[in-house]
């Protein structure tokens, strides 16, 4: 009986918490067009100021930002942007798709087939997020 009462109360509590939040949503589309690699601190303070796309460690840190405040990323980046690298199945490397954009921090440049044998030994954990459960069908041609 207590369990049923708790289950019945939960939606009510969540509704109440939702109603009391009273925050304004992050803009779905960034009000101004942003070009190139932005330094968000030029206009923003607080949590958005940390999103400096030109910083040398942004590529390393962007996964933490995305996992905490993806609505901020979505203001400028559509889903099509993320799947360029974070794909379910993909046959073309991002660095091959965008040869005319050498300034971008894209993974697996150059002859990566030779190098992955080394980098895969050094830090295989960095491979898992993209290839552990997705985008790994080609692995079986060598890794039986």
């Amino acid at each position: 009986m207590k369990k049923i009462a708790l289950l019945a109360l939960m939606p009510l509590m969540l509704s109440l918490l939702y109603a009391c939040a009273n925050t304004t949503s992050v803009a779905r589309v960034h009000p101004e067009e942003v070009k190139g690699l932005p330094r968000c601190a030029e206009c923003h303070t607080g949590q958005w100021a940390a999103l400096n796309h030109q910083a040398q460690d942004f590529y390393l840190k962007h996964k933490f930002y995305a996992a905490q405040q993806r609505e901020a990323c979505s203001a400028c980046h559509k889903e099509s942007f993320c799947v360029e690298c974070h794909a379910h199945k993909e046959e073309i490397l991002p660095s091959d798709k965008y040869k005319e954009r050498p300034e971008l921090a894209l993974p697996h440049r150059g002859d990566y087939l030779s190098r992955h044998r080394i980098e895969g030994c050094i830090n295989p954990a960095s491979c898992l997020k993209c290839h552990g459960r997705q985008n790994n069908e080609r692995c079986k041609s060598c890794h039986k």
């Binding site: 925050t23 949503s25 910083a55 799947v83 040869k99 050498p102 150059g110």
Partner: protein
């Protein structure tokens, strides 16, 4: 220590096995949330790619790809509803380039509602969920909303979208995240996920994530993830950066990975604990740091160092420097040197890169040279390099043609020449579609 072996999964749960339910739910959401559109936008992007290269056994490969992304949205006084679909298809014009002559994939396809208040969001369909410990592609439903007193909650449920070349994944995945924020100073979250192959779990992970911004110049973020099935910490990964001036930035990172817990469940033998490469019982520490300095508006330099330490394998260091140069006139160039210094000859190489790109009105050209010099030969070759030249032309603001040639001398090919031609067309109507 429990090592996962391939197994035949049971019947999927009723919810996960019926994508139709997702579609019906999407239609229900449309009916429920569509309250008279005030602004409709449709936008899309088509990229047609023809690749030209030589495969094994002197095969001539001409795979033709079409990537298509579509987005349609309606905004109302309370929020916006949108439909996002993206995918690709490939057909081989020459010899067979992969397992099948034709291949394709729906990368994402979901209906989304975002309210103007409380960051409330509902997504239904094939989507990429990124919430704390979860970085998953699912066919299902996700919700996210702000709650009272600075709390945020998110939840997701669906069928995992995976590729399964060696081992099966689960049929039903669900999880969520609860976080508390004081926007200018910190966010701390707890999250969990469970992936089931009925009735057993193949993954059960919990974690804590944080973002700290105690003063304007300091930014700390990271995550710790625990594997309940193997009863051990999978990973601790934290980064910190200090920006004393606009032009100077120090950063540091610390990562700790327990292989038994981290590689507990994968679908490829390339990353499994049974392949002889990923060593069971191994623990890795990776400590690193970097300094970035913008000397002028046009010149930036950075130096980085990473030290890897293992319980079983030998240690390794990776360090190097990068310099880049850019002008308002459309010139961008860069040079970098990195050294991978492992404990054995096999894990040692120097890596050099030089690149330059220049824009002349609607035309742009780029050159990229990437050289790797191994201390010990791989397949009889110590030096491998790739030299790429690319050019693009914007026929109109929406239509672009680009092509590149890539010459590669690798450990696997003596003289490989690859080409690619790409036509990109962006289209749209409405305020957001332009």
């Amino acid at each position: 220590m429990k090592i996962k072996t391939a197994k035949k999964t049971g019947d999927p749960p009723p919810f996960a096995s019926k994508p139709m339910r997702t579609v019906l739910l999407s239609c229900f959401l449309v009916l429920l949330l569509h309250q008279g559109a005030s602004a409709t936008s449709i936008s899309g992007n088509s990229t047609t790619i023809l690749r030209m290269r030589e495969g094994m056994d002197d095969k001539n490969l001409f795979p033709l790809y079409e990537y298509l992304h579509l987005s349609a949205s309606d905004t109302t006084k309370n929020g916006a509803i949108s439909l996002e679909i993206g995918g690709w298809g490939r057909v081989d014009l020459g010899d067979r380039s992969f397992e099948h002559r034709e291949e394709g994939d729906i990368q994402y396809g979901f209906l989304s509602y975002r309210a103007n208040r409380n960051n409330f969001r509902v997504d239904a369909g094939r989507q990429w969920v990124v919430e704390g410990v979860a970085t998953e592609r699912i066919d299902g439903l996700s919700l996210r909303s702000d709650l009272a007193a600075g709390f945020t909650a998110a939840a997701f449920v669906g069928s995992p979208v995976v590729t399964q070349p060696n081992f099966n994944d689960g049929d039903l995945i669900y999880g969520g995240r609860l976080a508390h924020s004081v926007p200018k100073y910190y966010t701390i979250g707890i999250s969990a996920l469970r992936d089931e192959a009925s009735p057993d779990a193949v993954r059960e992970e919990e974690g804590i994530d944080l973002w700290l911004h105690p003063i304007a110049m300091v930014d700390i973020s990271g995550r710790s993830t625990y594997n309940s099935l193997s009863d051990g910490w999978m990973e601790h990964f934290y980064t910190a950066s200090v920006t004393p001036t606009d032009s100077l930035r120090f950063s540091a990172s610390l990562q700790n990975v327990h292989y038994d817990d981290y590689f507990y469940h994968v679908t490829t033998s390339a990353l499994s604990l049974t392949n002889g490469i990923i060593l069971p019982g191994e623990e890795m520490w990776n400590a690193g740091g970097s300094i970035g300095y913008n000397a002028t508006k046009s010149i930036a330099v950075s130096a980085e160092y990473n030290h890897y330490e293992y319980d079983i394998a030998g240690n390794a260091d990776y360090y190097g420097a990068t310099g880049s140069f850019g002008t308002a006139a459309g010139l961008a160039a860069g040079v970098s040197y990195h050294r991978m210094d492992g404990s054995t000859n096999r894990l040692r190489y120097n890596q050099y890169r030089v690149w330059a790109a220049q824009k002349f009105g609607p035309i742009d050209v780029a050159l990229d040279f990437f050289d790797v010099d191994f201390d010990r030969s791989i397949n009889g070759r110590e030096n491998t390099f790739s030299l790429a030249g690319a050019a693009g032309y914007d026929l109109t603001p929406n239509l672009r043609v680009a092509a590149d040639l890539d010459y590669i001398r690798s450990a696997d090919f003596d003289n490989e020449l690859r080409g690619l031609v790409k036509v990109t067309y962006a289209f749209g109507i409405g305020k957001e579609g332009k």
